[in-house]
Structure formats: C-alpha cells, structure tokens
C-alpha cells in the first residue's frame, strides 16, 4: 500500500510499504477513505518530538471501512463493512485510566511505556503515527491501518453524514471541545483562544456552544483570523497590536475569564528578541518548548481564572510564570484529548447542526501529494487551514 512516512527532519515521503496485518486478537484493519494532516504532525516533522525513525508512517486522524477483524473483536461491537472514525489515542478500555475515562493516559497500550515513563514520570497511551515514545504504531496517512482494541475505540457512523463532517471526531474536534470543557464556562465568561489553527477554531466554536459570552481569537495569520471572525469570534492579531492591552480593552480591564492555549511547543512571538531567545534554546535543545502562548495566557488570564492547555508540549520549558499562576489563584488544566469520551456526544452535536466541522477545510489532496500538503500547511501558504487527504 501507499503511505506517507517520516523521512528525517523536515522531510516526508509517500512510499510503498507492506499492507497491515492483524497482530493482536482485538485488532481490526481499516481501509482508509479520508485522513488529515494535524498541526501536531508538524512537531514530528520539525524534529521536536524524540524517537521518530525513518519510515514511520504518520497520521492520527483517519476514518474508513473495516475490512478485517481479529478473533477477539465481538461481532456486536464491530463487523467487516462498518464505517468508522478512529480516535487517535489507543485505549484498552479495561485499566484504571480507561475506567476513569482518561483514555489518552491508558496504562496498557504503549509497548514502549518504559521510555514514556522516563520522559513523563508515568507512561501514556499508544497513539497512531506519533513517534515511538507513544508506542511505535503505524499511522493513518495511508491506504490501510491496523487499529488495536477495535472493540473499544472506533466510532461507527451509521447515518449518511459525509467523511468531511465526521473525520475530525478522530482528534481536533474533541481536542478543541475538551479545551473549552476544561474551562468550566459560565454565561458571563469571556474566553480567549491562542492559536486560530484547526484546533483553536474548534475550541472557539465549542466555547460558544458551551455558552461563553464572548470568544476572542489570537493569531497572526490574517486568513485564520478572518475565518474565526466569519464564525462569529473576535480577532486579535498579535503582529499588529499588543495582546495584553487589547485583551484588557476587550474585557473592560478584567482580562479573559478563561484562556485556552491551542498553540503548543512551537509558538511564535510578536517580539523578535523574545522569539529568538526561545528559538535558540529550543534549537540547542536546552528546552524543548517555545512557550510564548502559554506564558501570555497565564499573564493575561483574570485572577482566579482557568488556563486550559491543549496545544502539545513534549518536554521541558524555561521561565514558566509560576508567580502569576500561584499568586493569582489560576487553575491550569490540560491533557491529550480523551477522544473516546467525546465522540458520541459530539457526533450528536454535528447531526443537530450545532457544530459544522467542515468550515475549516481549505484543501483536499490525494495521499500522494502529502509532502506538498505538509509544506503549505507548515508555511501557511495558499491560506491553508486544514488539509484532508484521500488515499
């Protein structure tokens, strides 16, 4: 089959690789009909997540048709021919983390738990196409994928919704939604979202659905801010205005009640000096993060507010504003999304028309053009917001 693979830093390559086979009895093989490039894939390609190997198949947002099931998958859970969306964290459904619906922290699905434990203190779940640190599972930017614990994760789509309407249930829609949900939004809340990429856009939509009074989008790409504005959110361009004073202006001097970091480890900064400081430290690996968005979110949030982090971080950061965090009684909430927890309720919201996930799609490309897709997505060319690949 054809698959998009990691070929060293800043390089992806579509290659011919063997077709996947059942390895565990609860596996299924899915023929992929739609898959997507995620902002977090860029962290892998940019070389900031360790333990990538040449030939690793990328991709953790995919859906398709079940073509084979292992002997351990009960027929009432999944059958050949089912149309499914696959959540990006692989979860066993049986451990204490899964029992607490903390699927992305599943205790059993990462065969490389030892490495994960050394880096993070305790191991995290396996993730499709997301380095060997998260298990070394082949990803979904391919024609087929092996899906472990197929009786636990995949969501069956039985209505006639299009791939484009449900594909993002695999990651970015639940991730954005969890970002908003962690904010415990009240009707009087002003919610500021750093990053108007795909996850940021969904965090904004979710904040509105959950009842926020006002939602602010912070980014520097005019086309991304326009997209947020068209969806009813208030744009703030950090390349043009001072974020802090603008947020104070927009909130009557209080600061946003809830702040969402949908940027993560490769943030850019309005000040060239500060951007360079962290860029250099990241390049020499004395910190793994460029955490401008997180720092600014903490400094901006009103006292007693919530800072919700869904942007991906991988290691260590410098100059975390502990003083602001502690003295102003901020709550910091975070996590890789527990996708399985949100798929069904969000599917219902899509069916009811409360959220339209298709609004962020700007490009649809054949799988073979994945390298071009990564290029325009990374460099924000051609107004690229979200790319769907067709294998």
């Amino acid at each position: 089959m054809r698959a998009n693979t990691w070929a060293g830093r800043n390089s992806v390559e579509v290659r011919d690789v063997p077709d996947p086979k059942i390895l565990n009895s609860r596996d299924a093989i899915v023929r992929i009909t739609s898959t997507a490039i995620c902002g977090s894939d860029l962290h892998l390609v940019d070389g900031y997540v360790p333990t990538m190997q040449d030939g690793d198949i990328l991709g953790h947002e995919f859906m398709g048709e079940v073509v084979e099931v292992g002997s351990g998958v009960p027929a009432d859970k999944l059958r050949i021919g089912d149309r499914v969306v696959v959540p990006f964290p692989i979860a066993c459904g049986a451990c204490a983390a899964c029992a607490a619906e903390l699927y992305s922290c599943c205790e059993n699905t990462n065969p490389n738990a030892g490495i994960s434990e050394k880096m993070f203190g305790h191991p995290t779940a396996g993730i499709f196409g997301y380095s060997h640190l998260t298990g070394g599972f082949a990803g979904g930017q391919a024609q087929y994928a092996r899906v472990p614990f197929a009786d636990v994760g995949p969501l069956k789509i039985e209505s006639d919704l299009t791939d484009e309407q449900v594909l993002f249930l695999s990651d970015i829609l639940p991730t954005g939604y969890m970002g908003a949900e962690m904010c415990d939004i009240q009707p009087s809340d002003v919610v500021a979202v750093w990053g108007a990429g795909p996850v940021g856009q969904f965090a904004m939509d979710s904040a509105r659905v959950l009842g926020a009074a006002k939602v602010i989008a912070i980014d520097k790409e005019p086309y991304r801010l326009r997209m947020a504005e068209q969806a009813g959110h208030v744009p703030v361009n950090f390349d043009e205005v001072d974020v802090r004073s603008t947020l104070l202006e927009l909130t009557g001097g209080r600061g946003p009640d809830k702040c969402i970091d949908a940027v993560g480890m490769e943030a850019t900064h309005g000040s060239a000096h500060i951007a360079a400081y962290d860029r250099v430290k990241q390049a020499v690996r004395s910190e793994t993060e460029r955490p401008h968005a997180l720092r600014q979110a903490i400094m901006s949030c009103r006292s007693g507010g919530v800072v919700s982090v869904i942007g991906v971080y991988g290691g260590l950061m410098d100059k975390f504003p502990t003083g602001a965090w502690m003295n102003r009684a901020l709550t910091l909430r975070t996590g890789q999304c527990h996708v399985q927890r949100y798929m069904k309720p969000l599917l219902r919201r899509i069916e009811r028309g409360e959220i339209d996930p298709t609004r962020i799609i700007t490009h649809t490309l054949p799988l073979d053009q994945a390298p071009h897709g990564y290029d325009i997505f990374k460099n924000k060319q051609d107004n690229c917001e979200k790319i769907v690949l067709k294998p």
């Binding site: 063997p18 086979k21 040449d54 690793d56 066993c92 205790e107 065969p111 030892g114």
Partner: protein, 309 residues
C-alpha cells in the same frame, strides 16, 4: 559553592579580580569570567548528575588549574597584590583539599552503597547476589490475579527471561530460561509458601545454574477493585561465562526488566494479551526498546521470521 563562585565571577569579575590582586592584568579580565563559566558547569554537573563522584573530580581538576594560574600570577607580582594573591592561593589550596576529600568520599560511597550489581558482577566475573523489586496495580480482584500467577505455567507469557514453566507436582515445577538468558539454563523450583489470594514464595531447588527465589504479594488496592502486586526476585549470579550471559541479559538497568515484565502481566490480565505495535511487534520478545523497526506494517517475510529476525 561552585554556583556562588561562578555567579560572582561572571556578574562582578572586577571585584573578584581586585580581591585576588590581579586587577592590574588585562589577561585576567578574560580569565576570571571564563573560570566563572567553568564553575557553573561544575555546579550544574554536581546538582543534576547521578554520578556525583565524577563531577567532584572535575572540581579537583579545576582547582589544580586555578592553583597553576595563581602560581603564575604570584611569580609576576610583589607588594600588596602579592600578599592578596598568597591569601587567595591559601584559600584555594584549602578548597582543593576539601574537594579531593569530597571526591574520594563520593567515589568510595558509591562503591560501598552499591550492593553487588550485575555490572560489578560482570566486571569482577565472580558473580554476586542481585535483588530486584517492582510493583504494579491490576484492575482485577486479588483472587483472580493470584490464581493467574499461581498457575506458574502462565509466567512465560509475560516474563521475558522465561521460555517455559512446567508443573511437575503440587508445589514443584521445572523452569526453562529463554535463550538470551544463557542457553540451556533449566532448573527445578518449589513453592515454599502460599497463602491463597495473598502471597506466593518460591525458590529454585537442586543444583540450579542460577539459584533464584521469588516472592509475590497481592494486596487489595484502596480503590476497592484493584490489586497491588509486589514482586521481589533474587538471583545468585554465578561467575564465569554463564554469569556473564545473565549479566549481559539484564544489562545496565536490571530493574527495567522486571518493570517491563509486570507491565506485560498487567496487559495480559486486563486486556487478554501482550500489546504489540509495528515498532515493537514481538510482545515480550522485544528485548530492547531501541532501536526499533520503523512504525510501518511488517512484510510477510518479517512475519515469517518472527522475533529472531
């Protein structure tokens, strides 16, 4: 100490130069901050490294360097500056003595503290006793977790170093090690203590090549559903080539092996089998986590060759 000195030399090099009596030299303007930077490296090493002995010796080397520099400076100066230099040299000599003492202690302490490990056994090639402990929590009742372990024939499904365990009697069994552990290593074992649902203890009997014993305790976890599993394994690692093979098998981090065994034990009990990924497709036979094969499906040839590929 290194931290304070380093910061002072970098932040206020002129004051340091005046106190030391070398404020007349242009070269000292370069040397003092450099020495300051070196001190910070010492500090970072001492504060963060686990091999403090080595880092303590780097300080001794640094002291030797400083004494040399001071010697050169004294030879070129007289009067008040020379007196100051002599005072500083005296202080540095004192610090050097202290550093040597610390370094010697740190190195010795390491030797004394380490129980004979696999590593030292391998170096000495005369064997030693190795004790491994690990714990995990399984989301199943103690009776079920106990029953799985008590059926000793289940052990090879998750313990990497075991090829096969065969029950030979009510309390006796025959164990065979996996090839990397040392070829043809087999032994008989007996259960010396068992309290259903709570505890099993066993030991090798007869003329075992690698005499060993183990205890596993099953304790109800505070959540009311899960069971804590606490394992202690003791190996008497022999000298000679077998001891070397066993030592090589356990590698630099023998505890990691038992941790991984228990992770697989938990997987088997909670999910039914050992979880496989494309990067680590061979379950318990994934001896080392790195390097792995790439995260892409196996070819038919690879599948056929299996774990030995």
């Amino acid at each position: 100490m290194s931290l304070g000195l380093g910061v002072a030399q970098l932040a206020a090099p002129d004051t340091v130069r005046r106190i030391s009596g070398v404020d007349d030299s242009r070269r000292s303007r370069t040397v003092v901050p450099l020495v300051g930077a070196r001190e910070l490296v010492h500090a970072a090493g001492l504060l963060t490294s686990r091999r403090k002995g080595v880092w303590a010796w780097t300080r001794v080397a640094g002291d030797a360097m400083d004494l040399t520099s001071l010697g050169i400076a004294i030879a070129h100066r007289g009067g008040r500056r020379r007196r100051r230099l002599l005072a500083v040299t005296g202080a540095v000599a004192g610090i050097t003595a202290l550093d040597v003492l610390t370094a010697v202690r740190a190195t010795q302490a390491k030797k004394i503290r380490s129980v004979p490990t696999v590593r030292s056994a391998r170096r000495a090639s005369q064997g030693g006793v190795m004790e491994l402990t690990a714990a995990t929590t399984v989301r199943k009742p103690a009776s079920e977790v106990y029953a799985f372990w008590r059926d000793l024939e289940n052990l090879p499904t998750f313990m990497a170093h075991l090829e096969q365990v065969r029950t030979t009697g009510d309390r006796t069994s025959h164990w065979a090690a996996a090839a990397p552990f040392g070829r043809n290593v087999e032994w008989d074992a007996e259960i010396i203590e068992e309290t259903p649902g709570e505890r099993i203890a066993w030991r090798s009997i007869g003329d075992a090549d690698v005499p060993n014993a183990g205890t596993v305790r099953f304790v109800p976890a505070p959540d009311g559903v899960s069971t804590e599993v606490h394992v202690v394994l003791v190996y008497e690692i022999p000298g000679g080539s077998l001891g070397k093979a066993v030592a090589k098998y356990f590698g630099e981090e023998p505890h990691q092996q038992l941790d991984d065994d228990l992770r697989r034990f938990k997987q088997v009990l909670e999910t039914g089998e050992v979880v496989r990924s494309d990067g680590a497709p061979w379950g318990k036979r994934a001896r080392k986590e790195f390097p792995q094969r790439p995260a892409q499906p196996l070819s038919d040839a690879e599948l056929e060759k299996g774990a030995d590929a």
